[in-house]
């Protein structure tokens, strides 16, 4: 009998706690969703400066088409400026998530690290601009490697190689995309 009473007390505490958390969840969730949307959109924009992005999926790979807003005559149009390609590669401690912006001539615009768990002070330096700017202008014909055309971060060869790997993979995906639609049309979308 005593055990049942203890169980009931414990259950009561759980119910109150669950109710409280449900309330806090409902209150904070919209804000959390909005934050992660904003954060991702801003990484896309850092990788490829564009006014608008459109998600496409080809062969199970995800790309974001970037459009710039312009005007032809009186009508405002969106013109394709490139692709933002999300890729993930294996770093020294866990996955490095990044977005690689590629323009229509197949050159990297920017590499943006979205998420990484590399060693603070060593591998975590992959997020600094001086390192990432080395990737700007690289094409799929470039070697892109720590001993080739990229200066590695001291003490973090594996993290450096992982970012190079990600950049190469993004370029490869871009080539695959170009093969799929050989005649890349520049779509004109009405102002909506």
């Amino acid at each position: 009998m005593k055990n049942i009473k203890l169980g009931m007390v414990l259950m009561l505490f759980c119910i109150i706690s669950a109710g409280l958390l449900a309330g806090v969840f409902i209150f904070t969730q919209p804000k959390i969703d909005a934050n992660s949307g904003i954060a991702f959109e801003s990484s896309l924009r850092d990788a490829l400066p564009a006014d608008k992005f459109e998600k496409i999926e080809i062969n199970g790979e995800i790309f974001y088409k970037g459009f710039d807003k312009g005007t032809i005559g009186k009508q405002s149009v969106y013109q394709l400026v490139g692709y933002a390609v999300p890729v993930s590669s294996r770093g020294y401690s866990g996955a490095i998530q990044m977005v690689v912006g590629i323009n229509l001539s197949g050159m990297i615009v920017n590499v943006v690290i979205v998420d990484q768990k590399e060693t603070p002070g060593l591998g975590a330096k992959i997020i600094i601009k001086d390192f990432l700017s080395q990737f700007t202008g690289k094409k799929s014909s470039d070697k892109i490697g720590p001993k080739e055309d990229i200066d590695a971060i001291t003490g973090a060869t594996i993290s450096t190689a992982a970012v190079c790997q990600g950049a190469k993979e993004a370029l490869k995906k871009y080539l695959m995309l170009m093969e799929k639609n050989t005649n890349v049309q520049i779509p004109i979308i009405g102002d909506n």
Binding site: L6, L20, L21, N35, P120
Partner: protein, 194 residues
């Protein structure tokens, strides 16, 4: 009454004297701002759970007090996790898994069992504030030292060139070295006072 507040700060400092809650101390003291963010989250959970546990101490059956403490603590931890995620996303990313792990921070369960379960609400709140201040003091001091020596900055402001900074200070060994030296200094100070 005042001694409840003050004992946690130096005399029974949770990190440097009682040596509890060292796991988050090692992990998030790589920079001053992370240390401060963690201290605020721990302070919220510690004060709130101490208050609620002291309030309920007469109706909580002795046999199941530990699971009930854990439920109360994890409720407050989850609340701070959601709130931080919603309003301070950058800090949330930096602190990572160590926010949910406040649940198992032994300072909080330790104070619930050793103090809040046996004392009235007001004293328990004071104890929570004192212990939080002690934790914050230790954590931020370690964070400032490690960030200054390891990255050359304090709260993100560059003071010395990062080129001459010793990276080891922001790696785990740096945390052990800093905590060890601080403990030694505190012991020496106390010996002098006596």
């Amino acid at each position: 009454m005042f001694k409840y507040l003050s004992s946690g700060i130096i005399k029974e400092n949770p990190v440097l004297r009682l040596m509890i809650g060292l796991c988050p101390v090692l992990a998030v003291s790589t920079s001053a701002i992370n240390a401060l963010g963690m201290s605020i989250a721990v302070a919220f959970v510690l004060v709130a759970s101490n208050a609620v546990i002291a309030m309920l101490r007469k109706i909580v059956p002795d046999e199941i007090r530990i699971p009930i403490f854990i439920i109360i603590i994890s409720t407050f931890v989850t609340i701070s996790d959601y709130v931080m995620h919603a309003y301070y996303p950058a800090l949330y990313v930096a602190l990572g898994v160590f926010v949910p792990l406040i649940v198992v921070n032994c300072i909080i369960l330790g104070r619930a069992e050793a103090f809040a379960y046996k004392n009235p609400v007001f004293s328990s709140i004071l104890d929570g504030i004192g212990m939080s201040l002690g934790f914050a003091l230790a954590l931020v001091t370690i964070g400032v030292i490690r960030e200054l020596l390891g990255a050359g900055s304090v709260f993100g402001i560059q003071l010395i060139s990062s080129g001459i900074a010793a990276t080891i200070m922001i790696l785990p060994p740096g945390a052990f070295i800093t905590i060890g030296i601080l403990m030694a200094l505190l012991n020496k100070m106390e010996n002098k006072v006596q």
